[in-house]
Point group: none
Chain length 402, copies 2
């Protein structure tokens, strides 16, 4: 990666790169057919690209490691996820669309039920519906009275999940211990600072949690919070700084826009559907070097165990490919951020297929799928190698050494 | 690499290794046939070897990185090119056949045209023919009068390109800034030392450049130099020291002999042609452990976009293979130092095919080409792994651990 940064042509504005990510694309073979979701889908457009492209398989983080959405995407962007660690709190904050600045602290909270003795009776407060959770979160937000120089923001995520966001010069680090005792019948733990730098933050969080208990004292179920994951937001070097790339993200879900923004991409607009993602691409085409398109349905169907739904989601994207190639990108990459095999119903550690189409094809495969990618010319690469390859194919890396 | 050094049998003199490099061997498929240059060439001898050899593909430096000739060869010799960096000046000096010693400083110069106000009017002095450039370089060499304890040597390279070589105890490092302003209408910059250790060198170079302007004052076009790339020559640990290998190089072009000499290889003779390279191998056979043969025509044809010429150059080498195997090497490696696809007309980042024939074959392929190497038993390796593999096949590495 250091070499790719060093050899990147700064200010080169010739060939554009499209990075099309179908979330959780990688699959497992259906027991009846021996074919994965991608191999089952009828994808004439992607198959045609495979005939003059480069194909390969990717290790997203490390062998056997199942990536979350943050690490999977960071890897695709050329950021080693073992080095650039996004805390759970930060990812949740990005997921609800909060803007993070360096020094901000984000915490994942659970709404919980405490009994009269102050012991945890239900760590998820009976999994409230979103509207109910939103009501009590709003109540706490209104009544909270914390130090004047710290801004406290509470945002409901889904069911019992809530994000706490803190900003202010009085804060320190986020090396803090969780309060979740991990079993019922025990009291919540106090937040403790692991280093001196985080002491002020611990005090603020303990104050927020204590006041919340008092504000919610009359609630039957949702009468307090447990803290489960602290993160201080650190500024990452941007793709522009590292590789001379100005990027934009087109993604329906805030988490993916958030991860892209962390590496310096901008958000020209928010697509309303799969098809609208490509319409928005057509609208913003021409201003940037890198266009990151995110499609979520493949992952959702994978989690649901819906093999046919994932096949259909892939076919829906395939039907849009000709509108993308019509724009004339120098490099078009089609891949996933991890595998979510419908048979596995979760993110998995399996290698992810990748297709890279450019002016310099080396593959003459007849289809885009796990099997053809396994025999592909790129071989098995680490996902952080994808961006340097894209830069090379786009003519954006100068020769190394004479 | 450290393990290979540690496990190398010192003084073992049994099996010989031939490293046959066709420069820029890797290619891209011809759009009409889907076959690369190597796959198009009729290579009955290499194909026969592929039937009982090991095959694979190599990343020469890092994914997406296009290697220059220096880094590509260092990698083949087992020297990580990201760690062993050859400066442009040093490679140019090796390229014109200068002998470099530790502490020497080498600089790439351009002959340039300065106007009456001392501004750069042409950064390449109108691209003079070689004989004209040689005339003014000789003039400067004769008239220069620099500090007595520094030896200054100027050697014309090609057209406007000149190498300046400095030797002497009075010199320091070569952390120096270029003088090329990179555009016309501006004065040349003064050479500045980036560290204290390089100050004395900066003074000598500025003196050489200033005197050159005076000596060439009456020349209409070639009336000065611009400095473009400084390098202090550092001694590398030799292959003998690292792996117990005494090597020889047979290469028609000085740059390749130069890179080989940097890692301790010796030059028994200079071949006059492709065929003569093998004749010279027959002459010197028996004295050394490693025989590095370099064939240039594949790269030259690749740069020229001459697909058929590159095919013919590969076939010419193939016809010589039986004379090499007749010598009975323990290991015969056939590969390239990078790809120079005729369709791309430049060095490229594409993986490089490699064939390693020995007593211990694992492949039963029917041909030597990118496709068969991609399916090969070696898989996709970093090129610095090639030498340890060669040592293993030659019986020159002892078991690691009990």
């Amino acid at each position: 990666m250091v070499l790719a940064e060093q050899q990147a042509r700064r200010g080169a504005r010739s060939k554009k790169i499209v990075l099309l990510v179908m979330d959780g694309l990688g699959g497992l073979p259906h027991p009846d057919t021996g074919r994965t979701e991608l191999e089952t889908a009828r994808t004439p457009n992607m198959d045609a690209l495979a005939g003059h492209a480069s194909l390969g398989m990717m290790v997203m983080v490390a062998e056997g490691i199942t990536p979350g959405s943050g690490p999977g995407h960071l890897s695709l962007f050329g950021y080693d996820p073992a080095r650039y660690v996004i805390g759970r709190g930060a990812l949740s904050a990005l997921g609800v669309g909060l803007e993070l600045k360096p020094g901000d602290v984000a915490v994942r909270l659970n709404l919980a039920t405490f009994d009269d003795d102050g012991l945890v009776a239900d760590r998820r407060a009976g999994r409230p519906v979103d509207a109910e959770a939103a009501r009590v979160v709003e109540l706490v937000q209104r009544e909270l009275d914390v130090a004047a120089d710290v801004t406290v923001t509470l945002v409901p995520e889904r069911e019992h999940r809530v994000v706490l966001h803190l900003r202010g010069a009085a804060l320190g680090g986020a090396a803090l211990t969780d309060t979740d005792p991990l079993e019922t019948g025990r009291p919540a733990l106090a937040v403790k600072a692991v280093d001196d730098h985080s002491r002020a933050t611990a005090e603020v969080v303990n104050e927020v949690l204590g006041q919340s208990r008092r504000i919610l004292a009359r609630e039957p179920a949702m009468n307090g919070f447990l803290a489960r994951g602290f993160a201080a937001f650190e500024r990452y070097p941007t793709m522009a700084e590292r590789f001379g790339l100005e990027g934009v993200v087109l993604a329906r879900y805030p988490m993916y826009r958030g991860v892209a923004r962390m590496v310096g991409m901008t958000v020209p607009s928010v697509p309303e559907s799969t098809e609208d993602t490509v319409t928005q691409l057509e609208h913003c085409w021409g201003e940037s070097d890198l266009y990151f398109l995110h499609f979520k349905d493949t992952d959702t169907c994978g989690h649901d165990g819906d093999f046919d739904g994932k096949v259909a989601a892939i076919e829906e994207v395939d039907a849009l490919i000709s509108r993308i190639t019509a724009l004339g990108p120098g490099v078009l990459i089609i891949t996933g951020d991890h595998s979510t095999p419908a048979l596995y119903r979760e993110h998995s550690w399996h290698h992810v297929p990748v297709l890279l189409a450019s002016q310099w094809p080396r593959s003459t495969a007849r289809a885009f799928g796990e099997a053809s990618c396994r025999r592909g010319d790129l071989g098995l690469i680490h996902a952080t190698s994808l961006l340097p390859l894209a830069l090379a194919h786009a003519g954006r890396l100068v020769k190394y050494g004479a």
